[in-house]
């Protein structure tokens, strides 16, 4: 980042434009500060994935030199990548933050949720998430969702009101005008806030490169034991793979998204640096979620349906 005028009108010294990353950063910081100014008890959903890592980085910048005035919440599916949990805990310790964990495994063990036949745990996150929001009385919940991820998300507001059941009703959304965000809500309701709404996958990576942000290693090419299921390379492990008819092999892969191991696929890649990752994404003909998420393929409206129920 430059400290002086980045762009100059020819013939004058008038600054007139920001780079697109500066504009996106400025907008996201504005959103964080609006929430800090208007809500009682906000929380940042933090999974240790790149979008939530960028969110945390922006929050740190927004309130510096003061600490981030929010706690973090992680919905732990019980099938998370160990590297990501390690990153999560280091980030929390480094910035002196407080982390709440809502555990899908605990819900299953207590008989409150049932394991699906396919072993996919992403859809099971909704109940622990919404109960954590209700029990801990959060009134604003930051998510790293981006509108470019999925066409139902393209319709999502930056400030998205959820009822006392955490439900999203796409037909009853508040119009969002200028930069005037309306966060008013009744007791029991909350607002989901998406500061990265206008970012694309490439923006996120370019920003990570510009700001030199550390990421979990699984985002970079490495050799890993994987097996193929539903056309995707999944990490072998105790979570439920491979089955008898599935065989593992060691491949050079990396992850484009980080989620539950049961439904997050790896991509073949030799990109070991940020520059190589950016080059790879710029050339990719597959969307991020299309390449790596099994649960979005369940039906044409899978994301919309889960969001209606309270998913992030």
């Amino acid at each position: 980042m430059t400290t002086t005028v980045a762009h100059v009108h020819e013939g004058t010294d008038a600054p007139y434009a920001l780079s697109h990353l500066d504009a996106l950063e400025s907008e996201a910081v504005h959103i964080f500060r609006e929430v800090a100014g208007e809500f009682e008890k906000p929380v940042i959903l933090f999974s240790g994935g790149k979008d939530s890592i960028v969110m945390l980085h922006l929050a740190l910048k927004a309130f510096a030199p003061a600490p981030v005035p929010f706690t973090l919440l992680h919905v732990d599916t019980g099938h998370n990548f160990p590297e990501v949990l390690d990153y999560r805990d280091r980030a929390v310790a480094k910035h002196g933050l407080r982390l709440h964990v809502a555990s899908v495994q605990e819900y299953i063990d207590a008989g409150k949720l049932r394991e699906r036949p396919d072993g996919v745990r992403n859809p099971l996150q909704t109940v622990p998430l919404t109960e954590a929001i209700q029990n801990l009385k959060f009134d604003a919940v930051f998510g790293g969702g981006r509108r470019d991820e999925e066409k139902a998300r393209a319709k999502e507001r930056v400030f998205s009101l959820r009822d006392e059941f955490s439900q999203w009703d796409p037909r009853r959304q508040r119009p969002e005008l200028w930069q005037l965000y309306n966060g008013r809500h009744a007791p029991g309701e909350h607002v989901r806030v998406f500061p990265l709404s206008n970012w694309t996958e490439l923006d996120v990576w370019q920003y990570i490169a510009r700001e030199n942000i550390e990421l979990p290693e699984i985002y970079f090419a490495h050799e890993r034991e994987v097996f193929k299921r539903n056309g995707m390379w999944l990490t072998a492990g105790e979570w439920g793979g491979p089955k008898k008819d599935e065989t593992t092999e060691t491949r050079l892969i990396r992850y484009r998204t980080v989620g539950d191991m049961s439904c997050t696929g790896a991509v073949d890649s030799d990109a070991t640096t940020l520059d190589a990752v950016i080059t790879e994404i710029a050339a990719s003909r597959l969307t991020e979620r299309g390449a790596t998420r099994a649960d979005d393929k369940m039906s044409e409206a899978a994301m919309e349906d889960r969001k209606r129920e309270g998913y992030f």
Binding site: M1, H9, T12, A14, P15, Y16, A17, L18, S19, H20, L21, D22, A23, E25, S26, E27, H30, R33, A36, G37, K61, F63, A64, P65, A66, D148, E150, K151, A152, A154, K155, P170, R171, R174, P175, L177, W178, Q179, L180, N182, R184, A186, N198, T200, L202, Q206, Y207, R210, D275, I278, T279, A282, S284, R285, L286, T287, G290, E300, A301, E304
Partner: protein, 446 residues
Amino acid sequence: MTSTIEQFTDASATTLLRFATAGSVDDGKSTLVGRLLHDSKSILTDTLEAVEAVSAQRGQDTPDLALLTDGLRAEREQGITIDVAYRYFATARRRFILADTPGHVQYTRNMVTGASTADLAVVLVDARNGVIEQTRRHAAVAALLRVPHVVLAVNKMDLVGYEESVFASIAEEFTAYASDLGVPEITAIPISALAGDNVVEPSAHMDWYGGPTVLEHLETVPVSHDLTACPARFPVQYVIRPQTAEHPDYRGYAGQIASGVLRVGEAVTVLPSGRTSVIEGIDALGESVDIAWAPQSVTVRLKDDIDISRGDLIAPSASAPATTQDVEATVCHVADQPLSVGARVLIKHTTRTVKAIVKEIPSRLTLDDLSQHPNPGQLVANDIGRVVVRTAEPLALDAYADSRRTGSFLLIDPADGTTLAAGMVGESFASKAETTIQADEEGWDF
């Protein structure tokens, strides 16, 4: 235009353009949007395959590009676009955020929403039909929202034999109408979204046209005007006071510069209190700078310890706005419940929310012919009207014509938090043309 990897990997060279599209139901808006997305590499293989699969399942021969943009179940079921969706694409020069707004007349509030943050609006016209009522409405909304640049895309030129005279007469009629409304810059482009003429690639069928393609124009139009011409406005969002051993005395005012330029050493006034000080330092997200400009998010430190909190406005003492408790504005009503004279509301202006009462609704505007219906008593969904609002506390307002950021506000229902109306302070349109008062009692069919 073909994209290369290098174009996408140089993050510093690109700027961001926000634009909105407007068009009637069959003007070919989906096709235009589809082509812009497709030819800029923004529709990836798996997305296209999903569209093809669903189209085939429904027995359609060709992929229905509207499925790319209609993201909700209800939209797909009805085959119409209900709500604004935001799309993203990029070229070597720019990143684009497209507010894809429904063309249906009853969704005027959605076009207002899309236009509120747009630097540019594309108004689509079917070359066979020319300028119709809906075109005039779109031009009026763009003018009302003061979108800096308007593109008239005269589509389906292939269906009128690529005739220059057809394009010229439509462009002339639209330009005259939009200029009267005060639209500052109009660029007319003859296109065929279906055949690809002048959308991304120059047309081989219209030698007589020497201007840019739609994409070229989007890539080169200036994103912001000369900000030194606008006085600085800095609404305080949040006060940063670490009170740590490392920063025991740090007190910074965090916010996003709404307009203009702030400089260290500048004398400033804080509104509504009127207290004055001098900018001691500006922290631009971790780095100390001497100068910062809109729309940067920064933290400002002042020489004097004065009482400042969220909702206050910092402005240069030489050009501070007046404060008032009487707001005259044009509003677009965006809620289903009506807004009536006497209603008690909240007004959200920049970072400040105060109680207010609707004193008068002097008129309601017909976008078709810009006529004013006096004293309608109330405004309902999609209505545009003049209002007079009395606020419980003073606000530092600018005219919307001078600043979209400090001249705009929301009216909110204090009972349930619903956003009722989007407000713009001051005169509706840039031109001072006489508005005809019509005592027409016919129904409001908008």
